[in-house]
Symmetry: C2
Subunit: 366 residues, 2 copies
């Protein structure tokens, strides 16, 4: 009897995961099909086409497709299952590819998802062809241009998604805000990198405007707007999105310092090596006692951050209590988000998916 | 009596210029108003905003607005005077700003329209703020991001132009082709730069696909498609556009070697310093005798192209006859284009404007 109960209960936990993963797979298939067709159209038969036609569509693989999933769940808060809506949601992954390709150039990141970044792949190819000129410079320029194409194709995929004009017209303002915020946010990031450590409140402000909004809240609102959801549903999604987005970013920052390189696909302590003013670094500075504060200052001003410095820095952050405290802040936000969903009037399937996505965003290891 | 005749004839030559310049001014006003509003929306009250809010709209000034003019003339081959069509045409100037901002980074060009390039302005600003990190790197990244914003805003201006959905739907495929070709063409350029001098036919092929099409033919076809022009008008515009676009590029290449720095706003012989495989350089190689060919090869392989090398190179190109021959090719194309317009059934105002634009494209000194 107990085993029958378990078997009966299982689907209610497994079904959202199965459904969500299927949504992710549909978004990948649509995005990849679209990009492959565009790349073939523009690159076939060209010297540089051989690489571009392969590397550009490949760049889509390996993504978590979180943004399209959130957009599609937002859509399902008011709209029926729809291939057109899947395509509209998938357009956000192309937007994400634009941001990743160009950010990696600007931040000088050599790895992306455990593989060479796009500019590194282009640069190696240039070197293999034994062409004259700087292979690094070529790789960076080619990755910027590939990013531009992803930006163009994202909008084209959305416009050609097959959604009705009325639905699209509700989505455009949110889509436009999202893509402009991406560029504006990255510009703000370049400025932040160049200045001294911000305070906790000012950090939270930047974080809300940039990655937090971009990953969860904006995609959810975009999908719900396409579906024509009313103000009550939109307000609930906005609140959920703000909480889960912030928790997602906190988790990202914890992984950027303490993540396992074998799982994250990035070098250990990457954010420390990059001197990123991330939430865990800022929180550690706020929680540090005098001696810890001096030691943090010393580490922040190192000319080269080697493995020893990373391990000393990690230990120091943990000793301030910032690692543990950030974990609590993540759980607090996840709990509040669940309460928002429990109280909201959204279809069961969407509510289950939101609960599952909140867990995935806050308990992930990569 | 003679003076009365002259006074009566004058308007027929002056009117197109007055009308065209007014179109250019209307396009600039629309583009600038749109960009200023977007920049204020995104940058107000930010540390980096002070500069971005000024520099980004300023970047629009000083342009020739050729592409919007061609697009609007294309529109007038089938459509009435319209502010919505002016906005749609102006979107092409924002697309052009995207290309200029990013190309200058990739080509390492410090000057644009006689003023510091966008990345140089951002870089100097970083240095003035005395921030840490590389000012050059910051300038390049900021200019790439400003380019991204122009790319986004171009599409948004077109979509929000006020043209009817039916008109827009005729324009999108051409608009999409144009912006994708910009990125794809720049990628091909990076590859060309890195290889040996192409032959004349292969150069013409690249030139037609890239800048020739982009400046004249595509904008004309785009405007005419928005207006719903029939196949006969489109065919005439395509033929005219191919001829004038190629002549425009030949002229551009002549100015890149022989242009007066005080007029062009670029250093003398800029294309030689950049080792650009431009039409005049390729033609010189084809027309050179054995001794000239050897000397050209020597110049092409110089590690540094100084003022002496530029002046030797200019003399050599002229001595092969390539400078004069390219001038003939330009005039041939301009004459053929005029014949196409004379035979085409387009409104008088559009025909006059096309004749004037052909002259401006082929007889300009900057």
């Amino acid at each position: 009897m107990a085993s029958t109960m378990a078997a009966e209960e299982a689907p209610s936990k497994e079904a959202p995961a199965g459904w969500l993963d299927a949504v992710g797979a549909r978004c990948l298939a649509e995005a990849r099909g679209f990009v492959e067709a565009r790349a073939a159209e523009h690159f076939s038969g060209r010297a540089e086409g051989e690489l571009a036609e392969t590397v550009i569509p490949q760049f889509l693989a390996g993504g978590k497709f979180l943004r399209p999933m959130f957009a599609y769940v937002g859509w399902r808060c008011g709209g029926p299952e729809s291939d057109a809506a899947v395509r509209a949601a998938a357009s956000l992954e192309l937007l994400h590819c634009f941001a990743l390709a160009q950010d990696d150039v600007m931040d000088g990141s050599a790895l992306r998802r455990g593989r060479p970044a796009l500019h590194v792949r282009f640069s190696r190819w240039h070197a293999e062809q034994r062409w004259s000129g700087s292979a690094d410079r070529f790789g960076e320029s080619a990755a910027i241009l590939a990013g531009d194409l992803f930006l163009v194709w994202s909008e084209q995929l959305l416009r050609e998604s097959g959604l009705a004009a009325e639905a699209l017209s509700r989505g455009w303002p949110r889509y436009d805000a999202m893509r402009a915020e991406l560029a504006v946010g990255q510009l703000a990031d370049l400025v932040n990198d160049a200045r001294t450590l911000p305070g906790w409140d000012s950090l939270l402000d930047v974080l809300r405007r940039k990655s937090g909004n971009y990953t969860v809240r904006r995609p959810l609102e975009f999908g719900a707007a396409l579906a024509g959801c009313g103000p009550d549903v939109l307000a609930a999604l906005t609140e959920y999105g703000g909480l889960v987005g912030e928790a997602f970013q906190f988790k990202d920052d914890l992984l950027g310092v303490f993540g396992d390189p074998a799982v994250t696909g990035k070098p250990s302590g990457q954010d420390l090596r990059d001197r990123k003013a991330s939430s865990v670094v800022v929180l550690a500075a706020e929680m540090a006692d005098r001696a810890q504060h001096d030691e943090l200052g010393e580490l922040l001003n190192l000319v080269t951050v080697d493995d020893d410095a990373v391990s000393r820095w990690c230990g120091l952050i943990a000793a301030t209590g910032a690692r543990e405290r950030l974990g609590e802040l993540i759980r607090e936000r996840a709990d509040k988000a669940q309460a928002v969903i429990d109280a909201a009037v959204v279809p069961r399937q969407a509510a289950d998916a939101l609960a599952l996505l909140a867990t995935r965003c806050t308990e992930r290891e990569q």
